[in-house]
């Protein structure tokens, strides 16, 4: 593409508010735009986006591209793809950043191949190479065992960023920006996928991603019964229960409790891992937690490499005593 210029970020929203990942893409986008001396554009896609465009400006966008269409009320890959493609072809940016979300991980590769360029997904750092002006994209690979720094030589350079890995933008209502409405001229006739239904299976209580305390069980818990004790502990600490992959794969707990590379990324104030060995792919989902506590009978378990506090013991013996003492302490 000729005359590429500017950074473009895809801002997701939920319940009429910019999603936390939107603030993160705006934050990193603003920094890169400033370093390159370019403008930051934000893309909003939906049926009615209301005041979100103003919000995107407050959070750092110089320009907001708004694509509104009743067909965009629900996320559907093909229609969102058409909308984003249209904005990108018009804005002609050098860099496009999305969140590594259900939508972002779905859209970014499609866009990259469609626009004859390349994408790097799940980046934890995006830096500008001072010499070349190209983006240095760092992403965990091998389940988090290694990090790779990649450079893409074609434009636009497309990246998704891992949630909670990069600082969010700060709101400043004195910021001014331009709002551009784009008519995507969508037509569902040529679209070969259709949303039939969406089922929400929210676990009761505190939402895992938002919880300030997460109590997680691993393979060592051995069955669904042990998770009752973890639930009790989570309840005392007003937190949520999570799991590593084995308990989910073995159907001890619902799949949506999975914390890890292919599950949820959490960064609570306190993460209590019980019977969790600490595979790299699991640590990818929780290593941003402020304090990690581990209870595991294997002193060599990988979880102790990231934990701040730990007890080496069989959880069946240690956990009841721990729960009882925590209960006493928090009620004091």
């Amino acid at each position: 593409m000729a005359d590429v210029n500017g950074i473009l970020v895809f801002c997701e929203s939920a319940n009429g508010k910019l999603a936390s990942i939107a603030l993160e893409v705006l934050g990193v986008g603003r920094r890169i735009a400033d370093e390159l001396g370019q403008q930051l554009g934000a893309v909003l896609i939906g049926n009615k986006t209301g005041s979100l465009a103003d919000e995107a400006v407050y959070y750092g966008a110089d320009r907001v591209y708004v694509v509104e269409d009743p067909l965009l009320d629900d996320y559907l890959t093909d229609l969102y793809l058409l909308a984003l493609e249209k904005v990108i072809r018009q804005a002609n940016p050098q860099v496009v950043i999305l969140g590594q979300t259900v939508a972002g991980r779905d859209l970014a590769p499609r866009l990259a191949f469609r626009l004859n360029t390349a994408a790097s997904l799940d980046c934890i750092s995006l830096e500008v190479d001072k010499n070349t002006g190209r983006l240095l994209m760092t992403r965990p690979v091998y389940g988090g065992n290694a990090h790779a720094i990649l450079v893409c030589d074609t434009d636009p350079q497309i990246a998704t960023i891992r949630s909670k890995a990069i600082s969010p933008a700060v709101r400043d209502t004195s910021r001014k920006g331009e709002i551009i409405k784009i008519n995507a001229e969508l037509n569902s006739a040529g679209v070969k996928t259709r949303l039939l239904e969406r089922k929400i299976e929210e676990a009761g209580g505190v939402k895992l991603e938002d919880a300030r305390v997460v109590v997680t069980g691993g393979r060592g818990i051995g069955g669904p019964e042990g998770f009752k004790q973890l639930e009790e502990l989570a309840k005392i600490l007003k937190g949520a229960v999570g799991a590593s992959r084995p308990p989910c794969d073995n159907k001890w707990v619902p799949d949506n409790l999975q914390v890890g590379l292919t599950g949820k990324i959490v960064s609570p104030d306190l993460y209590i891992a019980v019977g969790v060995s600490g595979s790299s792919q699991h640590l990818s989902g929780c290593s941003g937690s402020r304090v990690i506590v581990a209870i595991n009978k294997d002193a060599e378990a990988n979880i102790f490499k990231v934990a701040h506090f730990g007890v080496v013991a069989d959880w069946k013996k240690a956990l009841p005593a721990f729960v009882a003492r925590v209960k006493e302490l928090v009620s004091e």
Binding site: N302, K305, V312
Partner: protein, 266 residues
């Protein structure tokens, strides 16, 4: 239903993290000692999904893999699970690609296979975790694509796909032919049966070189990359865990709670 399943041979992702090493001379990841490679985890779910569709709707399952030094015992596993045919794009020219050059070579090979209703891939490979090849194949071939599936059913000639979202799932209807990427929320891959293993032993894979599928070597493998790898390194983790001890596990646990209170964590 004619189904093509793309699978990748990778270092065993279940290898203990302590065995993970990068060869400083080549900058490549060394295979964990004493552990043979495996079919990438999510690709096995794709094989399982294909087998379930075949059991219900009939058809043929062709497995497609790509790389160098593909161990026959490893890449034949989908055959021993019940797949019908195995095609290997096996040549040094196919090696060390990125998502772009990998999807391109697979798409060209799929075009050569010609007849298919569904292409299944794992949601991401267990080594590079890129999560792009399925979508890339779809774009190159101009097909619809649904990612991160936990169930696929064929109803009235269309695929009904349960796609995992953060707080539940959605059901997407997709016209065929199309591409679906599978996640571990799908029912687990079956173990090969003894009969399956015996059958797989007798089947020889079809080997395709770049010239067989008519691709220019400059567009595949390392040469066809669009993302340059600048550096691969092991992140340093601060290993400073305060182990709380006690006479008994119960006492240690109780002291842990007190220590957390003291540190104002709870």
């Amino acid at each position: 239903m004619d189904i093509i399943v793309c699978v990748k041979q990778v270092n065993d992702p279940e290898a203990p993290p302590s065995s993970f090493k990068i060869d400083s001379a080549t900058g490549k990841v060394l295979p964990p000692p004493g552990m043979p490679p495996v079919i990438s985890t999510f690709d096995e779910y794709a094989v399982e999904a294909a087998l379930r569709i075949k059991e219900k709707d009939g058809g043929k399952i062709t497995v497609l893999s790509m790389g160098v030094n593909l161990l026959r015992d490893v890449v034949k596993k989908p055959l021993s699970m019940g797949a019908d045919e195995l095609i290997l794009l096996e040549d040094p020219a196919f090696a060390d690609g990125d998502s772009w050059s990998t999807a391109y070579a697979l798409a060209v090979a799929i075009r050569k296979i010609g007849k298919f209703d569904l292409i299944l891939c794992g949601r991401q490979a267990a080594d590079w975790d890129s999560g792009q090849v399925g979508q890339g194949i779809a774009e190159i071939l101009g097909l619809p694509c649904v990612t991160i599936a936990r169930k696929i059913e064929i109803i009235n000639g269309k695929a009904h796909i349960e796609r995992v979202i953060s707080d539940g799932f959605e059901v997407i209807e997709m016209e065929l032919p199309g591409v679906v990427t599978l996640s571990n929320e799908h029912p687990a891959p079956r173990y090969p049966s003894v009969k399956g293993i015996m059958m797989a032993k007798r089947k020889e894979p079809l080997i395709w070189k770049p010239a067989d599928i008519g691709v220019e070597p400059s567009r595949i493998g390392q040469a066809g990359r669009r993302c340059r790898l600048i550096k691969l390194y092991q992140p340093v983790r601060e290993a400073k865990c305060e182990i709380v001890k006690g006479e008994t596990p119960e006492e240690a646990a109780s002291k842990l709670a007190e220590r957390l209170r003291e540190a104002k964590v709870i």
